[in-house]
Symmetry: C2
Subunit: 179 residues, 2 copies
């Protein structure tokens, strides 16, 4: 199996844009080799597998201070997401989830990205960018042209740098909550 690889040179992730032919059949890919983490060299993997350890995901969401959600509902949400992307690292025999994102979709016209989370230890090192770029690539591969999301104020510029536009032509994101 040919892996698509990213190379890590100290502070910068260099993404190679050539996917192998069987890229979309691969569930786990080496994303970054020899990533410096706490004086160790670790490999970071990317996975599209929906078979996610829910406790591990909950733990990851805890690290960024999200309100806990019933695992039963998280399970349903993952099952009914069009796409999930997980980043994890493997060091010796230890495997750990460090980033996650998912998207709902009608499978053809549009998709909405939800639950983007990167472990604080791994923030600011390009992994969030890889996560979203990978989501876009996967959605484009499915011929989905309109990719949407709802961005908190502090991440609007992050998404702008990835090509997202806020309020195009005055279109407003709107929310309805129970009241």
């Amino acid at each position: 199996m040919a892996f698509w690889k990213l190379f890590w040179n100290k502070t910068k992730v260099i993404q190679i844009n050539q996917y192998s032919d069987n890229y979309n059949k691969i569930k786990h890919k080496i994303l970054v080799q020899d990533f410096d983490y706490k004086n160790k060299k670790i490999n970071i993997f990317l996975s599209k597998d929906k078979n996610i350890n829910l406790y591990e995901l909950e733990e990851l969401c805890d690290t960024v201070g999200w309100v806990r959600r019933p695992l039963k509902k998280v399970k349903i949400a993952i099952e009914h997401s069009f796409l999930t992307i997980s980043l994890f690292y493997q060091s010796n025999n230890h495997k750990k989830l460090i980033a996650f994102a998912r998207a709902t979709s009608d499978n053809t016209f549009n998709a909405t990205i939800w639950d983007v989370v990167v472990h604080p230890d791994f923030q600011g090192r390009g992994l969030g960018r890889i996560l979203i770029k990978e989501a876009i690539k996967q959605l484009r591969y499915a011929d989905i042209n309109t990719i949407t999301l709802f961005a908190d104020p502090q991440v609007i510029s992050f998404y702008k740098n990835l090509g997202f536009i806020s309020d195009p032509d005055g279109i407003k994101g709107m929310f309805w909550y129970p009241h």
Copy 2:
């Protein structure tokens, strides 16, 4: 089968908020009786049935000037929508689709409403409002708490009147298009 009814008094739709117990099993409901349309009295029905005539839907979208979309993709989008709501009228043996909306969802946390369309002949008479209120009701029935949509500038106040909030806490709706 007990139908849940709306009564029409010249210019105003009075919605009765009591649903029958088997409401969610009913695929077609009389929504408005004796609606005045071109000097005729017609009955307006609401349907959650996904078995939609795609040509009729395309015709409806044409009336509001939408760009035509491949029917094959429309079919996929409907199949993978969590919810579709259609309004149609029946007069003698003639049945006609006059409004439509659909929502994508992860089936538990959040949903996004897309493709809201009301035939121009039936606009300004409360049917769009019924359509969205029905979508909210259905999504709430499925215990979905976050209902989102992307509103064109001219319909922002329409959705505000229905309880939608734009950019809550500075959250921005963002779009990515192929470039």
